[in-house]
Amino acid sequence: MVSIAVHGGHPPRDVLHQAVDWGRLVVATAARAVVATLLGLALWSAAPALLGWHPTTVMTGSMQPRLAPGDVVVSRPVAPAEVRPGQVLLADDPDQPGHLRMHRYVETGTDGVIVTKGDANPQADSTPIERSAVHGVAFLRVPSVASPVLWIREGRWVEVATAALALSVVLLLCTVDGSLRRRGARHRGSGGTDDRSGADRDGHGREARLASVAHRTVGAAPDPTRRSLRPARHARGTAGRAPVRHAAARRASGLAVVALVAGGGAALAPGQAEAAPFGVTTGTSMRITAYTVPTVTTVSCTDASGSVVIGWKYTGDPARSFTLIDDTGAVLATADGQATSATVKLSGLLALGTQRTVRVQTNAGTWTSAPSAPVTIQHTSILGLGSGTSCVR
């Protein structure tokens, strides 16, 4: 740069300046495009709320890959009849009062409830939603625009700071071509009553602060030749009261716009509850079955000189006792838990072949078994004489 200045003076240096100017123009235009795109995305996120649509911030990955955390999803209210399986719905979360669920409608449950599932969840949501709880059907997706909300919520301050810094840099880059635009206005105004003209006779004066910033970044060492070419700092220092005021006003209005956008965005988009809960279950089960007190088998009857011996077989947990009962429930005999037979001798002064049915009941704890198969016995007695009790075959 120095050698160029020594050799030829102005034309080569002008070429260099023009290249720098074009570069500034491209950088500033690109930066403005980035800012405008962000504003456009913010507009898409927030403006549908004016139509009564419902923007929400996706907070989890339960709908990945279709919806990612940090996305803003705008849901459109629909009539309950228009809600169909396959749609992504925004609804009150029955599991967590005050929260919203954004999941896919996978099937209709009993009573017309809506079974939902996050695409990335292994299972459908455990609690279905009522049709009346549906706020709308997801309609617009604005990718990643609410990522800062997510970061703030999760305390990822490094990302927040990085994003804020990047935004500041981009906003600053938006202004690096300011002098190029204003140069023309000053030329036109130089012959008239414009109060700026005095300070801007060479067409460079109003670049003021921003130009000096640009120069500091281009070449840190003050170039003595620059000063004559670019009396910007002179202008600021000597004759530039009005320009400084204008620059301050511009700066203030720029800041106001940024604050308005940030504040509006913060008030509209992230104010909505998070969508898309992430759920997973695991489980086990229990099944209990009560004991059934076994009934004795192979009930037999054997005559034994005026009485009968009732025998049985029993398998199962040790029984407390056995009870021999007749049709009326009267207890004819009892035996302990180890017994396999019991003697029955009916009594009575007058009986002419009276028949009784005998069944054996198992007693286990407080529970008793069902009665066994019956055997029939009879009793013959006239004043204590006769054959007594015998088996009936």
Partner: protein, 199 residues
């Protein structure tokens, strides 16, 4: 190279805005199309933003399969539930598919405790938590009607998502001593479901 004319500079100053608005519209519409045009699910395991994950150590077997229960029968089993998700979450326990209308069920109480130590193989070493150690102690049908979903679930275990966390649950059933004869041969069953949802 020609000099940057003020006209070109002013044009460049504003051309970016409509272009960017169009670009943002294109971004939103393509993103919306890809997200909502398909009505089928397309699951993936490539989660980058965090997960909720829950597992237990029962190897898909039942906690209890008890038979021949008599009045006074009782047993305890433990199960370890582990959260390995990367998102903070709330874990709750509730009953599913209860079949608890039998006389046996009505005469059976269930006690559910949470704590540390022990596991599915053995409860030895289990220590109930000092506070909130007992989550439930009532009859089986009450469990089946009281804790039926996440909202009505038992417990308020919140995980941080920073590391794997475990809790051991001890389930004890007791068949009442006065259970009537009509309970013989009855069955009762229910499922225990632990569900984690991110906060």
């Amino acid at each position: 190279m020609s000099r940057v004319s003020p006209r070109a500079a002013r044009l460049a100053a504003w051309i970016a805005v409509p272009a960017a608005l169009v670009a943002s519209g294109v971004v939103v519409s393509t993103a919306s199309y890809s997200a909502f045009s398909a009505t089928t699910t397309n699951p993936t395991s490539n989660w980058t933003a965090g997960t909720v994950a829950l597992s237990d150590d029962d190897a898909n077997t039942a906690l209890f399969t008890a038979t021949n229960l008599k009045p006074g029968s009782t047993d305890s089993k433990c199960i370890t539930v582990t959260s390995t998700g990367s998102l903070p979450s709330t874990v709750k326990l509730y009953a599913t598919s209860p079949a608890t209308s039998s006389v046996l069920a009505q005469n059976t109480t269930v006690k559910i405790e949470q704590g540390t130590g022990g596991g599915f193989a053995s409860c030895s070493g289990f220590t109930p938590a000092a506070t909130g150690g007992t989550l439930f102690e009532n009859t089986l049908p009450t469990l089946g009607t009281q804790a039926t979903n996440f909202a009505s679930g038992l417990g308020s275990w919140t995980t941080t998502g920073a590391a794997s966390e475990s809790r051991v649950y001890r389930v004890t059933y007791t068949v009442a001593a006065g259970t009537p004869n009509t309970a013989q041969g009855n069955t009762a069953s229910l499922g225990f479901t632990w569900e984690a949802q991110n906060n």
